[in-house]
Subunit: 350 residues, 3 copies
């Protein structure tokens, strides 16, 4: 829990910025945000899920953000609002603003003479900006990043350390790329000829919209011919793999370790669980939810939640069940046979 | 879709280089390659799969590459050949040649005095080449790469940005390592003693053959004692993990997010789907195909396709089926009991 | 197999250091360690698993480390001990000591004036150490690493190339972070408001204990408010994802490609197989073993082995079984119906 600096805000000031209704002392001064569990008397915490009600009872937080139904669940000074988690996100950002760019090009950075870097952008140590690249206003390019030829990075975008963006890719505004992200690597395009693979040149780009966030060590391949597209507001967690010519619709969120095979089209406002897989060349409708550890092998044309994980068991029990799973088709045939058995009694009583 | 520069080629010139039969105007001038869907009148596209026949009907492509069976499927100028996808790969490489090395060591690169770098190799900004390393003719070492002591990189090999190769590893000729690849990290070698792990030194190397391509953020561990080996022509997609002492046979292709545990031996010309897993110490025969999201727990001694993914369902349906899966062994026993029921009629009619 | 330098040790010297009983010539001079399979006459190998007994018979190793039960399994000079693999780990470390720090800051490294770097630490080329960071005695910070503001790195810790540690994180003593590791990236904290995601600031830290090893390209997210904690002696393999506010208990080992969702608590001395998944907000007891490719969706409160992988099959067989799996609940109902069938004979023989 980081110390958030010296500035404090009263509940009244907070509610003036973000709305909501104050219950209890409006002049209570908040110094930091915290969890219910670890809050101190100068902190504001939040309750977004009824299962944390016991923690609310026990908290030492000086103030709390609660939903309308939980107005009476605490006597502490509180803000009552429609969506406590969103409200908390805003309050937390007030106390913990994203660090801004420190304008300038570090002397160890390597910026090609034919690159265009906004005057108020920050180019970190040992970052490399190649010919024809454009770095927008207020960008932060972290230490050791590599920005290829003709890449465009929109205003207000932040790349943490050691991000690699291959030539020609386009990144929108207010995007966050975490450390180790790779954008625009070659897709897995191979043609088989007489037992050997021939590389198919990957000449499309990656196009990333505005307000996208991409987690650490996630990789997004460039398109084979057309582009790979990540629309506005998409949130990708760490270690996700996005194949060539994938399109991810706006405001879709995908949890860590998921793999998306080439040319899959994922709709808008989808929520995809961690370590799931999306097969190539399929289409997923808007608003679909996919559970963690689930492989989607066919297109999904209507919203809903889809699941396909093998539920874990104690190993011995799994051994027995998994063994039977290999004979499930046979078992089903045996049940059919039992169902078809002639009603013997009638025939056997002549 | 990248503009491919100014040079154009007639179908006649293309067929002279790569073979095939021309139908329609042999003097048609091609300026670029494209998909059927997005091609313009100066583009050549291809048809490699019958399901894109509707796109062939609608395409604005000036010329098309088709298989022998699809000779009559279009009236556009076309090249008829045995394998349109391979042919297209060659044509695309003609229009989009891989960029060559720009010989020289960038002034911000750090090359040890006891390293040997070919005169026509390109060492990018902030790349580090340690003592005893050898960089072959025409290599490109991207920005921020780290090449450890005594590493050997064969001629014509390209490392994109931020690749790390640990000491002593050997990379063949014409290899491509994408950004963020790690070669030669320590394998997961641990010995348990009284509740604590003792590290087992990992002193083998990684040996990578010729014409290998390794995707972004893939990791290949060095051998514990003997070497980890990736044979010629192997293609690894992004975010694959190759454990210590694995051997991958020549011309095997492995899709993204797959994990290969230590000492597994994979044959030649295998095709392994994405997010699959290969257990340690097993052997997989030549020519095996493994479906995506499949865990291989035992050796496979004959070619064929092997699968083991749980097929996804709507969540409610999954809840019911997955619950029964935990009782599958019991269900099988109950079916056996039903099958063994005495033929009651005979006994009941004395 | 690396040549281990010129120093040799007699079995007597080895046993004096590490214990065990010598059988055969105590003056046999060992020059290197090797596998039974590839050992030469100046090597010492080991037998830790009975399945390698045939290799013991055939080995050319000059000396062998064996367990007490295998004392008579070879006539070669040997060391008999309780745990041959641990013993071998120690002998291998004797012949292959981890390279020490070469004290000094490389001229291309960028060390902020307000960072504190121990005099005998090694800061590699193009490494970046930001304001307020502390680098302990004997540390090695590899080429291209990025160490954020106020990071603390304990004594004797080694970071290989291109590691990124975000601001404020704390790394213990004698820790090893392999290339491409990311520590302290933002957790996946998002609040949904009217179809758009609001970022929840991630202001916790990552706290890593002593004697931890983290494999290549593994990522560990910082806590949302409280910290993400990795206790002493934890071993993480490559490409693992650790979500925000996870806690991993001491001496737990986790194999590659595993994903651990936010706020999961994993006990001490657990062993978690590769490509497994741990759901968010669950608790796993001390001493639990989880099989490879298994998704743990609920808390586990007692030690034992837990498994949940779909066992692979030839594809055709899988097609049939997987199809029936979608009807398993219905099948179970049909079996119940068969079981409930009236005992017809009795009623049909009036």
């Amino acid at each position: 829990m980081t110390d958030s600096g010296s500035r404090s805000y009263s509940l009244r000031e907070i509610a003036r910025r973000f709305g909501g209704e104050i219950a209890g002392d409006p002049d209570f001064e908040v110094r930091r945000v915290a969890t219910l569990e670890n809050a101190g008397p100068d902190s504001i915490a939040f309750l977004a899920n009824a299962r944390y009600l016991p923690q609310l009872k026990a908290t030492r937080a000086g103030a709390v953000i609660v939903g309308k139904g939980d107005r009476a669940a605490t006597g502490a000074p509180r803000i009552v609002c429609a969506n406590p988690y969103v409200y908390f996100a805003r309050v937390s950002a007030l106390f913990n603003p994203a660090p801004g760019a420190r304008p300038g090009v570090h002397p160890t950075a390597v910026v090609d003479g034919a690159a265009r870097v906004a005057g108020n952008a920050e180019i970190g140590p040992c970052a490399v900006i190649e010919r024809g690249a454009e770095i927008g206003a207020g960008c932060v390019i972290g230490a050791g990043c590599s920005i290829g030829e003709d890449v465009v990075i929109g205003a207000g975008t932040r790349l943490y350390a050691n991000v690699s963006v291959y030539r020609g890719c386009v990144v929108g505004q207010r995007v966050i790329l975490h450390a180790g992200v790779v954008i625009g690597s070659d897709g897995f395009g191979l043609a088989m000829e007489e037992g050997r693979w021939i590389k198919v040149p990957q000449i499309g780009r990656v196009m990333i919209g505005d307000d996208v966030e991409i987690g650490a060590n996630t990789t997004v391949d460039r398109g084979a011919l057309d582009d790979t597209v990540i629309e506005d507001g998409v949130k990708l967690d760490n270690q996700i793999q996005v194949g060539h010519n994938v399109r991810i619709g706006a405001h879709t969120a995908i949890a860590a370790c998921t793999g998306i095979a080439g040319s899959a089209k994922i709709g808008r406002n989808c929520r995809i669980g961690g370590a799931s897989g999306i097969a190539g060349h399929i289409t997923i409708a808007d608003g679909v939810e996919i559970s963690t550890y689930t492989l989607i092998t066919k297109s999904i044309d209507r919203p809903g939640t889809y699941t396909g994980a093998y539920a874990f068991e104690p190993h011995r029990q799994w051994l027995r069940n998994a063994a039977q799973l290999r004979h499930l088709d046979e078992l089903a045939r045996r049940v059919r046979a039992l169902e078809k058995k002639p009603k013997q009694p009638k025939r056997s009583t002549p």
